[in-house]
Subunit: 439 residues, 2 copies
C-alpha cells in the first residue's frame, strides 16, 4: 500500500481519504511536503481533522490547530470527546480561544454555529480611500472574506454593506455611508441552517451577515459552508426516504452496531405495522380457500399501491425541502394527486385487465370466472393506486403539520401504510364482483 | 389578491414566487419600486426571468437583459424557445453578445456552461501596487468576483492565482509572480457539474478557474452557482429514488401530462416486472390450496424484503453520490451488507416467530402446524432480508458499472426485484419445513 500512497499528491489523497484506514492516512500525509500537508489538513472536515490531530504527538498539535480559522476550529473541538475539548482549546492563542468559545455556544446546525467572527468591517464615516487603507491593515489578520465589507457603528449595529468592487469603483473622497447599501439580507444567529441555505439560494449571495436579536453583528456565514449544509441536508432526507434514520457518519466507516441501530429501529417498526396485513388476510381466509386464484394477485396489487405511494411522497418531500410546497398548499397537492392517481390507476388497471384476459386466452388459467377476476384486478388497481398516491402525498404534509420531519414519510413507510388498505380494497372488490361465481 | 400582494416587499415576493400565477407575478413586480424590481429580477432563475421578460412589452426588455451577467444571460437564452433566442441575443450590446454566445456553446451541466467569462486578471510581471491599481480599473466593469485574481500570460495560460487578501498583505513593490500560488485547482471546461461540485466541496473554494484542453483560461465558476447544482442533483436523485423520472420542473407548476409521463413510465415498467409475482404464486397454487395459512404471510414476507432492500440501496446511492463509495469498493459493501442483512434478518425473523407462536397461544389460529409455520416465517425472513439487503446494495453499483445512473435503483425497483425472489424463498422454506404436516 505504501507504494501506491507514495505516488499520490494531496489532491488524490484527499479524494481517496474516505476509503483509507487510519494508518494509511497517517502514512499518506507523512509522504507529502509541508505545504501539501497543510492544504490537505485545511480541506478536511472537522471529524477527519480531529482524527489526524489525535494521530500526532501532543507537542506537534499546536501549530496545526492554530492554522484553522475560528469556525473550523470550533467544528474540530465539537468533534472531540468532551473531556478532550479543554485541552484542544488550550492550544489556541487567547484571542482565538475567546472567538472559538463564543462559537461553541451555538448549535452546530444554526447560523451562529456556521459563522466566522472574522469579517471585514469599517465605520460609516470613513472616506472610501480611508476605508481601503484600513481594510489593507485588516487583511493582515486572517479574514474569512473581504468580498463584502460591513459597515458597523460604535454599538456594533450593522448599518449597511458595501462590496469590495463597489468600494473600488467609488470616488475616493466619498463617505462610506454614501456608497453603502442599507437594504441588507441578514440572518438571526439562531436561524436553522436549512432556512439559511434557502436565503443564500434565493438571493445568490456569497456571504450573509449574522446578527443577534438586538441587531448587533456577530459574524458572517460564507456560501462555501452552505454547499456542505445543502449536501448534508439532502443526505439526511435521502436516508430517511430510504427508510432508515440519518446515519450522520460516512457509510463505509460507521460502526456496524451504530448502523444496525439506525436501520433496525425503523425496520422493526415497519415490520410490526406490516403484521396487520396478516390480520387483514386472515379476515379473508375463507374467500382465499374458496378461490385460491385471488391470492395470486395479492403481491401485484399491494406493490402497485406501494410504488405509486413512494413516488408521490418523495416528490412532495422534495418539493417541501426546496420550498416549492408549504403545508398551506395541501389542497393544490390533493387536486394534482387526485388527477395523477386516477390516471396512473387507470393505466395500471388497464394493463392488469389485459394481463388476466391474455392469461385466460392462452392458458385457460382462470376458467369461467376470468372476466370477473380481470375486473376485480382492474378496479382494485384503480382504487389502490389512487389511495396510494393520495396518502403518499398527504403524509409528508401531515408530518410537517405535526412538527415532525416530512422526510420520515419514507418509501417503506408509505408502502406499509398502503399495503393493509390495498388488501381491503382488493378483497372488497372481489366480494362484490365475484359473488355467485367464484365466491 | 392585489391587496395581499401590495403588502409584500421583494423578499416576501421572491419567497412566494413559485406559488403565484403569471398575472400575480406581473402585478407583484409592478407594485415594487425599480430598485426592488431589479433585486428581485436578478435573484430569479433563468426560467422565471424569461417568463417575466415575456410579460413585458418588447421595448422594455432591453434594459432588463443588459442587467444580467453573461452566465445568467446565457441561462435565460437557453430557457427561451429556439426561434426566440436570436431576438434575445440582439438585445445585448455586442461584446456581451459575444460572451454569451461563447457560453451557449457549452452544455448546461458542464463547467463551461456554468462559468462566467468575467474574472479579475493580471499579468505576472506587474508589481503588487500596479496590480491593485489595475484591478481598481477592472472593477468598473462588472466582474463576477474579485476575491481571486488570476495571473494570465500573453497566451491566456493560467500561471497562478493570488487572493485579494494576499495581494493586500504583500509588499507593494513585489512582483505578482512572486506572491502568487502556482498550485491551482482548475476544472476542464467539459467537466460534469456533479464532479465540479465535489471539487468545490473537497477544497472549500469560493471560485474555480475553468480552462480548455490547451490550458487557456476561459472563465470562473463561483461557489454560489454550485449551491444550485448540489440542490438540483439531490432533487434528481431523490425523485429517482422515489421511483419516477426526474421532473426537471417545480412540482406545483409542471403540467399534468408531463408529470404523468415522468411517473407513468416507471410505474408501468415496475408493474410489468411485478407481474412475475403472479406467475410465481401460480406455481405454488397447490400448496396455497392445501394450506391457506401460507397465503396470510405473503405480504409480510415480501414487504420485509422490499423495505430492507430500499434501505440498503438508498444508503449506497447516496454514499456514491457524495463520493464515499466507488464501484471498486463493491467487496467492502458486500461484507458490510452481509453482516447487516443477517443481523436485521435475525431481528425480524425472531419477531415473526414470536408473532406466529403468540397468535397460536392466544387464538389457536394455526393448529398443530403452528411451530412449522413459525419456523417457515422465521427462516424465510432471514433469507428474504439478507437477499433484499445484498441485492439492494449491489444494484446501484451494478448500474454505475453499466454506465447508468445508480439512483435509478429506486426503492420501488428494488422492492419489485426482491418480491419475486422473496416468494421463491418463502414457498421453498414452506415445502421443506411443512412437508408431512400441512403440505
Amino acid at each position: 500500500m505504501s507504494k501506491e500512497l507514495e505516488s499520490l499528491n494531496e489532491e488524490e489523497l484527499l479524494e481517496a481519504w474516505p476509503l483509507l484506514s487510519t494508518e494509511e492516512r497517517s502514512e499518506g500525509i507523512r509522504l507529502l511536503d509541508r505545504q501539501q500537508q497543510e492544504d490537505l489538513f485545511l480541506a478536511l472536515g472537522g471529524r477527519d481533522q480531529h482524527a489526524f490531530l489525535a494521530s500526532l504527538p501532543q507537542t506537534e498539535r499546536r501549530s496545526w490547530v492554530r492554522m484553522l480559522p475560528p469556525d473550523d476550529a470550533a467544528d474540530l473541538v465539537q468533534e472531540a470527546p468532551p473531556e478532550e475539548r479543554q485541552r484542544l482549546l488550550a492550544l489556541l492563542d487567547p484571542p482565538a480561544r475567546l472567538e472559538v468559545q463564543g462559537l461553541l455556544a451555538y448549535a452546530e446546525d444554526e447560523a451562529g454555529g456556521l459563522m466566522s467572527p472574522r469579517f471585514a468591517r469599517v465605520r460609516p464615516d470613513l472616506t472610501v480611500d480611508q476605508a481601503i487603507t484600513w481594510l489593507r491593515k485588516q487583511a493582515r489578520e486572517k479574514l474569512e472574506t473581504i468580498y463584502y465589507v460591513y459597515v458597523i457603528d460604535a454599538e456594533q449595529h450593522l448599518c449597511g454593506v458595501v462590496s469590495f468592487r463597489e468600494l473600488f469603483q467609488a470616488p475616493p473622497d466619498k463617505r462610506v455611508r454614501d456608497v453603502m447599501q442599507v437594504d441588507v439580507v441578514t440572518a438571526r444567529d439562531d436561524l436553522d441552517q436549512e432556512r439559511l441555505s434557502r436565503l443564500f439560494r434565493d438571493w445568490g449571495l456569497l456571504a450573509i451577515p449574522v446578527v443577534d436579536e438586538a441587531g448587533r453583528m456577530k459574524g458572517i456565514v460564507t456560501v462555501d459552508d452552505i454547499v456542505d449544509v445543502v449536501e448534508e441536508e439532502a443526505t439526511e432526507d435521502i436516508q430517511k426516504i430510504g427508510g432508515s434514520e440519518a446515519l450522520d457518519e460516512p457509510y463505509l466507516t460507521i460502526s456496524l452496531p451504530r448502523m444496525l441501530k439506525k436501520r433496525g429501529g425503523w425496520l422493526a417498526v415497519l415490520f410490526l405495522g406490516e403484521m396487520l396485513t396478516a390480520t387483514a388476510m386472515a379476515a379473508y381466509e375463507d374467500e382465499i380457500a374458496r378461490a385460491v386464484v385471488l391470492a395470486l394477485f395479492v403481491p401485484l396489487i399491494i406493490s402497485s399501491g406501494g410504488n405509486s405511494g413512494s413516488q408521490a411522497s418523495t416528490l412532495v418531500i422534495r418539493a417541501m425541502a426546496v420550498g416549492e410546497v408549504k403545508v398551506r398548499d395541501w389542497w393544490r397537492v390533493v387536486r394534482r394527486e387526485f388527477s395523477s392517481g386516477l390516471a396512473l390507476g387507470l393505466l395500471l388497471g388497464a394493463i392488469g385487465i389485459v394481463r388476466v384476459l391474455a392469461g385466460e386466452a392462452l392458458f385457460h388459467t382462470y376458467g369461467e370466472a376470468a372476466v370477473g377476476v380481470a375486473l376485480t384486478v382492474g378496479f382494485s388497481l384503480v382504487g389502490v393506486v389512487l389511495f396510494g398516491t393520495l396518502s403518499g402525498s398527504m403524509l409528508p404534509l401531515l408530518l410537517r403539520r405535526l412538527g415532525l420531519d416530512p422526510a420520515s414519510a419514507s418509501a417503506p413507510f408509505v408502502a406499509t401504510l398502503v399495503d393493509v388498505t390495498g388488501l381491503l380494497i382488493y378483497f372488497s372488490a372481489a366480494s362484490l364482483l365475484l359473488r355467485g361465481t367464484l365466491l
